[in-house]
Every structure is written in structure tokens, then in C-alpha cells.
Amino acid sequence: MASRGTLIGAAAFAILAAGAPLLPQWLVSLSTIAFANALVVLGLVILWRTGLVPFGQALFYAIGAYAVALLGRYTPVRDVFVVVIAGAVCAGIVAYLVGFLLARYREIFFAMLSLAMSMILYGVLVKTETLGSTDGFHVEAGSFFGWRPQGAMRNLALFWLVLGCCAVAAVLVARYFRSVAGALAIPVRDNEIRVEFLGISVDRLIHLKLVISGILAGMGGALAALAVQHVDPQMAYWTTSGGFVFVTILAGAGSVAAAFVGSLAFELVRSIAVDLLPGAWQLILGSALLLTILFLPEGLGSLYARLRRRKEETAP
């Protein structure tokens, strides 16, 4: 039988999908980007539970995005389902390869090494003419099993695609969290020695987490590229990675749902802040993060747990 969390999550996705045609265009576009980025955040949550914070997750985000862009530019492949899977797979392969090195490091060394790798990709993208150099290049619109929607319909179709990807990812990651490999995140963070002496390799556990988070980031990047219809080296830049870490802190590592709520909250706050204070929107974003750390140190996701606890305490 499905758990209470799964049912709430399924209902939320169904309401969003059904209600999307009623929403204003700007909100659909904003939510599309927010949920695409939420996939990257979900990957960061997986690593953060183990005590690892990568400052270079934009590496996989950019690989997913550029894979989609390059497929559109150099091949006849246009189907969005195929290109999104291709973006996720490319990022997963790179995560698997760099994982052999990254999985051996912890704490700040892990963070800085991942940052260094993303900056290498940034450097390559900036200097490579065939990859669009600093300007990047246009991404083909893509088709949905041969259907090529235009205008507002395309935005809606993309939103549904992103929602579908997020729903699948949420179910799989929730299942992973309940598995032996997923649930060992806290034991690994607490005491690597004990985990090793119980008979399992901590490096291999972390390597798997890196590959999963890479696949999620690649998928997020691919979907973002389709939504924006443009890729550029900024997608691999360290500030992009920093933005994902920002959202992860805002969301918290408590649950799968937190990644989606956190990402949507971030995009909404940023959008409103830019509207209200075009010259100083960072001030509002920074204050929002500061307040979250002060009053919700375990992120927005902990709000639900707190409310539930309070309800249980006041129950007769």
C-alpha cells in the first residue's frame, strides 16, 4: 500500500498538472524552470544526507543541457523524451567517471574538487568555437512523439513533461532512500569506520550517490535547455552551482518533497524580488536564506514535520 507521503505527493502533482492550463503563462514558465532545477536539488539532497556538499553540480547540469543542444544541432533527433534521457545518461556517465576520484574525498576537499571539475568544463565551453563559445547556442524546440506544439501550448506540454520527470524521479529517489544503500547516508555521515567494518564500501556507496545525483542534474539541465531554448557556459559556472546549494539549504534534506517546494519557493521569491527591487533583489534572497537558517535550520521541509508533531502533541 502507498504511504501517506506518496499519496500527498501524487495528489500534488495531479493538481498541478490539471490546474496548469488555468495558471498565467509566466507562472507556468517559472514553474517549469523551478521543477527542472528541483531535480538538481534532489541530487544534492542525496549527497547532503551523507554530509557532502558539491560546489560543482553545474558540471552535470551543463552536460545535460549541452547534450540536448548538440543533438538538436548535429543530429535529426528531436523527440523531447529521447533528448532528455540522452542528457541524463551523458551526465550519469561523466558522474560515473569523475566519481572514481570524487568518491575518495570528503568535506571541503570534495566540495572544491567538484567545483574545480565544473570550472574545467566552463573553461572548455568558453574556449570552444563549435560549442558556441561564450554566447552558447540555440536549442531546437523538439517534438512530443511527433507532435510539435507552439506558443502557450508548447509551454504547457513542457511543464507536463517536467512534472512527469519529477514524479518519476521523486518515486525512485524515495524508494532509494528506503533502500540499504540510501538509508546508509546518515550512518556514513556519522561514522564511516563502523560502516566499513560492517562489511560495505563507503567509497562505493558515495560513488553510487554521485552517479544518481549526476543523472538527476543532467535531466534537470536537459529540461531547462528545452524550456529556455538556449545553452551557454554560464550553466557550468560556479555561481550556478552555488544557486543549487542555496536552494538545497532553503529546502533541507528531510524529504523528497522539500526539493520541489524549495525550488519553487526560490524561483518565486527571486521573481518577486526582481520585480520589487530590480537593483537589489539579491538582498531579499540573502535575507530569505538568512531567516531560513535562523528559524528553520533543517529547511522548509522541516516545516511539515513540525506542524505534524504539534498536531500530534495537541491531539487528545
Partner: protein
């Protein structure tokens, strides 16, 4: 009785420092071996080499006839040699039950990480095994307490219970009573040793308290300066003048001096 664990000419050096040398011995199945020695005598180095935490510089270690010298600790654990630590190694932010689930789940599964990602942690089998282990080590009443809040003695019991989760044939206990008050030591060792006897586990335990060693060991290895200077029944080893001079301190150094 055939040896479950055999060690031949074991040596460990760190640069010019010789931490262990010329160690050769056989441990029959289900024997309880006490390991004594002053600080720096090589006891923990010996335990670390057997359990794969350190790779020997020379010599070999055979477990059930198979060479396990230099294998990684997790492989040695999976083969059937487990250990506890001088400072209890538990997962402080998890409850006692969750600690035991984690240990049981790791112990039960296959080596493949992918298979681990597809197996739920809280299977009925893992839960049953965790409950049985908590019962055996008498820590059931702490089941919902976070490990960080546990008294030292209970934390030690949890550490050992977790080490036993994989049904090892050999268990090495590194100072199981360190940090425990004198009044609690014997009670803790009674619980541990009776649990291990029930599971028919061969035990090697490092201990400073000679009373504990005399009461629980079938055989005692006395370490001094990186090597074994006595290897006999407890009463014989504890009466050995070299042991009394260099380890137990029951004979003042210089009196009837025996050179090591």
C-alpha cells in the same frame, strides 16, 4: 582441534618503528583468547592487522585455511571476522534499533552496491535479527534512545552487538571494558561472553584488567615490545615473571629482572 585463525611471522613497521614482530600463533575454533600488554606493546596493531585496518609489512594471516593477509576490512568482515573498538563505533544520531537495522541490513545483503540500492533497509528479516541481537545483549530497553545519549556501557554493548550482526565466526574486541566503571565491568563482560558463547564465536579480546582476563579467557597472549612473550593458560601467563614485570606490574621492575 583445527585452527580457525593462524598467524605466521607477522610484522608491522611504521618507518623505523617496529610496532609488531615475529608473531606466530594458531587459534582453535570457539576458544576465548585474552590479549594483554602495556600501552604501545602492539595489541591494537595486532588486532588492526587481523581485521584489515592495517596491512602487515611481513607475514601471513590465514582464516579457515584461506589467506586474508592485506585484504580490505570490509572483505574480511564479510568472510567472517568482525570487531569492536576501544572507543565504541556506533551511529550517534540513530536510535539503538536503527543502529541494529543498519548493521543487520549490511550484514545480510550481497556485496553489490546496486543490489543494496534495490533492497529495503527494514525487511522483516533484518528487523527480527535486530530484535534478537538487542535481546541477546540486553539492550532492548534502550531501543528508542539515540546512540549519542547512551551510557558508556550500553554504547559498548551496542558496538559489540553490531559487530555480531553479520554472524562472524571470529570476533576481536578491543578493550571492551575501557571507560567502564569497576562495578560495571564484570556485568558487561558476563553479558558479552555469554552472548558470544551462545553464538559459538571464537573471541580474541584486548584487556588491561587482569581479573577480567583471568575470569573470561581460556588462553592469554602477553604482548611486550611488539611481540608475544607468553602464550598459555591465564593462570600460567599471569604467574610468568616477565609478564609480572613488564605488563601486570605485580612484581616491581628490577626484582628478579628478566630481560625482554
Amino acid at each position: 582441534m583445527s585452527a580457525i585463525l593462524s598467524v605466521r611471522d607477522l610484522e608491522k613497521t611504521f618507518g623505523s618503528v617496529v610496532a609488531a614482530r615475529d608473531i606466530s600463533l594458531d587459534v582453535p575454533a570457539q576458544q576465548t583468547v585474552g590479549i594483554i600488554g602495556a600501552n604501545g606493546a602492539g595489541k591494537t596493531t595486532f588486532v588492526n592487522m587481523i581485521t584489515g585496518h592495517l596491512s602487515p609489512s611481513k607475514g601471513s594471516i590465514l582464516f579457515e585455511g584461506n589467506d586474508i593477509t592485506g585484504l580490505p576490512s570490509r572483505t574480511i568482515t564479510r568472510l567472517g571476522i568482525s570487531r569492536s573498538f576501544q572507543v565504541a563505533q556506533v551511529f550517534p544520531s540513530l536510535t539503538v534499533t536503527e543502529n541494529m537495522w543498519a548493521a543487520a541490513a549490511i550484514a545480510r545483503g550481497r556485496d553489490s552496491i546496486i543490489a543494496r540500492a534495490l533492497t529495503p533497509l527494514d525487511t522483516p528479516e533484518a528487523k527480527t535479527e535486530a530484535d534478537a541481537a538487542m535481546e541477546l545483549f540486553q539492550i532492548t530497553r534502550y531501543r528508542d534512545a539515540r546512540a549519542v545519549t547512551l551510557p558508556q556501557g550500553v554504547r559498548k554493548l551496542l558496538d559489540i552487538a553490531m559487530a555480531v550482526a553479520g554472524s562472524p565466526r571470529v570476533l576481536l574486541l578491543d578493550e571492551p571494558t575501557s571507560g567502564i566503571s569497576i562495578e560495571e565491568k564484570f556485568g558487561l563482560m558476563d553479558v558479552v561472553m555469554s552472548a558470544l558463547k551462545t553464538r559459538r564465536i571464537t573471541v580474541l579480546f584486548v584487556e588491561h584488567d587482569m581479573e577480567i582476563v583471568g575470569r573470561f579467557a581460556d588462553r592469554v597472549l602477553a604482548f611486550y615490545d611488539g611481540t608475544v612473550i607468553a602464550d598459555e593458560r591465564p593462570e600460567t601467563v599471569l604467574a610468568n615473571p616477565r609478564v609480572q614485570t613488564f605488563i601486570s606490574g605485580t612484581k616491581p621492575a628490577g626484582e628478579g629482572a628478566v630481560h625482554a
